[in-house]
C-alpha cells in the first residue's frame, strides 16, 4: 500500500464523527468609503499612496518619487523609464540591484491594505527583490474585505499570486519594528484614475 493510501486509511479509521460544513455567512465590516479606508490602512502599514491626476504622466510621476533611481524594472507597456524587464531578464537573480520595481495590482482591500498581484511577468522576483516597489492600482478597484477579495481573485497560467500590504518588515530583533527585512524596503501605491 502506498504511503498516501496508508495515511488516508489511517485518517478514515481515526475519524469518529463527521462534522458538517458551517454556513460561511460572515456579517463582515464594510466601509462607507472603501478607498479612503484603503489609503489610511496603507499608510498605517508603512506604505505610501500617491494619486495620478488625469492628464499626468505616470513615468514622470515615478521619476519624481524616486529621482535617484538608476535601475528600474517593469514589464508594463506604459512604463517607458524601465531599464530592466522581468519578462526578458535572463535570470531572476539578474534583477538584483533594482532600485524601483513597478508592477500592476488588480484590486485593493480596504480592511488591511492588501493589493492582489497575480504573476504576469516571467520572473516574479521583481515584486520582492527591488529596493522600492511601486504598485499601479486602478482607483475604482477596492473591495471591502478579504471575503470579497477571495471571491474576486483569479489566476492565469503562471499559477502564482500574492496579496501585498505595505513594505517588507520585521520586529524580530527585540520587538523593534524595522521596515525592509528581506523584500522591498518601501512600497508606494499609485492610484490610477
Amino acid at each position: 500500500m502506498s504511503t498516501k493510501s496508508q495515511i488516508l486509511s489511517s485518517l478514515k479509521n481515526s475519524i469518529k464523527e463527521r462534522f458538517p460544513m458551517p454556513d460561511i455567512q460572515i456579517d463582515a465590516t464594510t466601509y462607507a468609503d472603501p478607498l479612503a479606508q484603503f489609503i489610511s490602512m496603507t499608510k498605517s502599514v508603512g506604505g505610501k499612496v500617491v494619486e495620478l491626476q488625469a492628464g499626468d504622466d505616470i513615468n514622470q510621476l515615478i521619476r519624481s518619487l524616486y529621482p535617484d533611481a538608476k535601475e528600474i524594472a517593469s514589464s508594463l507597456p506604459e512604463i517607458t523609464i524601465a531599464t530592466r524587464n522581468p519578462d526578458t531578464t535572463p535570470t531572476a537573480q539578474s534583477l538584483n540591484g533594482t532600485d524601483v520595481g513597478i508592477v500592476r495590482g488588480e484590486f485593493g482591500v480596504a480592511e488591511n491594505a492588501c493589493v492582489w498581484i497575480p504573476q504576469t511577468m516571467k520572473e516574479r522576483a521583481v515584486c520582492f527583490i527591488s529596493e522600492n516597489l511601486v504598485i499601479l492600482l486602478p482607483k475604482a478597484a477596492i473591495v471591502n474585505n478579504m471575503h470579497e477579495a477571495y471571491r474576486r481573485i483569479s489566476f492565469n497560467d503562471l499559477g502564482y499570486g500574492t496579496f501585498i500590504s505595505g513594505p517588507s518588515k520585521t520586529a524580530d530583533i527585540a520587538q523593534v519594528l524595522v521596515m525592509g527585512a528581506q523584500a522591498a524596503r518601501t512600497l508606494t501605491v499609485i492610484l490610477i484614475p
Partner: protein, 457 residues
C-alpha cells in the same frame, strides 16, 4: 513537593527580574495589539465560531480534502509526496535535493521542519540550509531553537543579536541598533537567496479546491526563497489543508490579527505551480502522528491550531517562564497539548504549568479548548505512570478528610492551632506555600461552628 522541569526552569527564568519583566510586558503588548484588532471587527466572535466549525468539519473530512488537494496540486503540475513520519519526510527532502544536485537551500519559517529536525539531518548529509526569517536566522547562527512559534528569537535582546552579528556577519563593533542589524542581515541573506539552489517553504494553508499552498510572511522571505532558486519544495502537516477560498478568507483575516495584532501579514502568497524557468514544485504532506491524534476523543481538536501563537502571548505562565522552560519544542498552552499528543511520558511535566485561567481558549481564534484539555491530560497522568506521587498523596488525604465528616469537623476544630506554630517551622523549605506567601491566619471558629452556635437564630 518535587519540582517539574518546567517549574525549575521557570524559577531560573525569574531570577533575572529585569528581563523577566521585559518578557512579560512585551508579550502583553502583543496581546493588547491583538485585542485592538479583535475589538475593531464587530464580526470577530462570529469569525472565531466559523473558523472553529470549518476546522472541525475539515479535520473530520481530512481524508477527502487531502485527496482533493493532492489531485488538484498534481493537476497544476506539482509533484506531491506523502510522508508518514519525520524520518520519511527528511529522506524525501534529501532525495529531491540530491536529484537536483542542490548544495545550498534557503528556507522560510516552518515549525514542521523543526518538529522533524530536518536541518540537522540535511546538514549531516552535506546540504547547507539557510533560515531566512530574521528571527530564525538569528537563532540558527546562535545554535539555538525557537522560544516562540511566531517570534522565535524573542529571548534575545538587541545586544545579544549585535554581538552575534559582530562575530558571524562582521558587523560594526558596538553598533546594536536594530535597524542597522536588520539591514546587515538583509545584505547577508540577499546573497544567500541569489546563490541558493533550492528554496523551501512551509505553508499556512493548503487549499483543497485549487491545490494552492498559501504562505503568510511579513519579511517576504518565503517569496524571496522561491523567486530566485530553480526549485521550490513546500512542506505542510496534514492538518493545514482547508476546503476553499471562502474558508481561507476567514482564516486569513484572523491569523495575523490574533498572532501579532496586525490587520494582515505583509505578504499572503499563493503558490500553485513552479515558475516557468524552474523545475516542478514539490509538495510534501506530512503525517508524523497527526492521523493517529485525530482518533483521540478528548484531544483531537488541538489539530485545529493555525499556529498564530496568541495562546502563548496571553498565557500568564508562558510570559513569566519563557519558551525554553517547556520540554516540548512548541511552548505555551498549545505546546503543552501537542507535546502530550506527541509523547505523554516525556512531556507530562508541562501540564502543571497552567493555572487553568482559561485565557488561552478564550483568545484562541479557532476556539481550541486548550485549558480544558490540559485539565483532561492531568487526569490521564496515572495511566502514563507520570502522576506526581506527592500530589496524589495530598489529593488522597484531602479526599479522605473531606469524605469523613467527623474527621473534617475535628480538623476544623484544630486548624486555629496552626496559627501558633512557630514561624521557623511553618517556613521550612518543605512548605512550598511559604516560598512566596505568608501563611493565612485561621479564625478561632469555622463557619460550621458559628452555624452550630446559632447563626440562623
Amino acid at each position: 513537593m518535587s519540582n517539574t522541569a518546567h517549574s525549575k526552569a521557570a524559577k531560573e527564568f525569574l531570577k533575572n527580574q529585569k528581563y523577566a519583566k521585559w518578557h512579560d510586558q512585551t508579550f502583553w503588548s502583543v496581546r493588547t495589539k491583538r485585542d485592538n484588532m479583535a475589538y475593531g471587527l464587530k464580526e470577530w466572535e462570529q469569525l472565531r465560531e466559523t473558523a472553529s466549525a470549518i476546522k472541525r468539519h475539515t479535520l473530520t473530512h481530512l481524508d477527502q480534502y487531502l485527496d482533493q488537494f493532492s489531485t488538484n496540486a498534481e493537476k497544476n503540475g506539482c509533484i506531491v509526496h506523502w510522508a508518514k513520519d519525520a524520518a520519511e519526510f527528511n529522506e524525501i527532502v534529501l532525495s529531491i535535493l540530491r536529484e537536483h544536485n542542490v548544495k545550498k537551500m534557503v528556507k522560510s519559517k516552518s515549525m514542521l521542519t523543526e518538529e522533524c529536525e530536518m536541518n540537522p539531518y540535511l546538514e549531516a548529509h552535506g546540504i547547507e540550509v539557510v533560515e531566512t526569517d530574521l528571527g530564525e536566522r538569528i537563532i540558527q547562527l546562535k545554535g539555538q531553537k525557537p522560544s516562540h512559534i511566531v517570534m522565535p528569537a524573542i529571548h534575545l535582546n538587541h545586544d545579544d543579536v549585535g554581538e552575534l552579528f559582530e562575530e558571524k556577519l562582521g558587523t560594526e563593533k558596538g553598533n546594536h541598533d536594530p535597524t542597522y542589524l536588520t539591514y546587515m542581515a538583509r545584505l547577508s541573506l540577499r546573497n544567500e537567496f541569489l546563490t541558493a539552489d533550492a528554496g523551501m517553504t512551509g505553508g499556512n494553508f493548503g487549499i483543497a479546491e485549487t491545490g494552492d499552498i498559501v504562505v503568510c510572511t511579513n519579511e517576504g522571505n518565503a517569496d524571496m526563497s522561491t523567486s530566485c532558486p530553480k526549485l521550490h519544495i513546500a512542506a505542510i502537516g496534514l492538518e493545514k489543508v482547508i476546503p476553499n477560498y471562502d474558508c481561507l478568507a476567514v482564516f486569513q483575516r484572523m491569523l495575523c490579527r490574533a498572532g501579532t495584532g496586525q490587520p494582515t501579514t505583509t505578504y499572503t502568497s499563493h503558490f500553485r505551480k513552479a515558475r516557468p524557468t524552474a523545475a516542478p514544485m514539490h509538495i510534501i504532506l506530512v503525517d508524523n502522528g497527526r492521523s493517529q491524534w485525530l482518533s483521540n476523543p478528548e484531544h483531537w481538536e488541538s489539530l485545529k491550531c493555525i499556529r498564530c501563537g496568541s495562546c502563548m502571548n496571553t498565557c500568564p505562565v508562558y510570559r513569566r517562564s519563557g519558551g525554553y522552560s517547556y520540554s516540548y519544542f512548541i511552548p505555551g498552552p498549545i505546546g503543552i497539548n501537542l507535546g502530550m499528543l506527541r509523547n505523554p511520558k516525556e512531556h507530562s511535566g508541562n501540564v502543571s504549568a497552567c493555572t487553568l485561567c482559561l485565557s488561552c481558549q478564550t483568545v484562541c481564534p479557532v476556539k481550541i479548548d486548550l485549558g480544558d484539555q490540559i485539565y483532561k491530560w492531568r487526569q490521564q497522568l496515572p495511566s502514563f505512570g507520570t502522576a506526581n506521587p506527592e500530589k496524589k498523596l495530598m489529593s488522597s488525604a484531602m479526599s479522605f478528610v473531606f469524605n469523613h465528616w467527623g474527621i473534617y469537623n475535628s480538623a476544623l476544630w484544630v486548624s486555629p492551632l496552626a496559627n501558633r506554630i512557630p514561624r521557623s517551622i511553618i517556613y521550612l523549605p518543605l512548605n512550598p506555600w511559604g516560598e512566596g506567601h505568608e501563611m493565612m491566619q485561621f479564625p478561632k471558629q469555622s463557619f460550621h461552628s458559628l452555624w452550630k452556635k446559632g447563626l440562623s437564630h
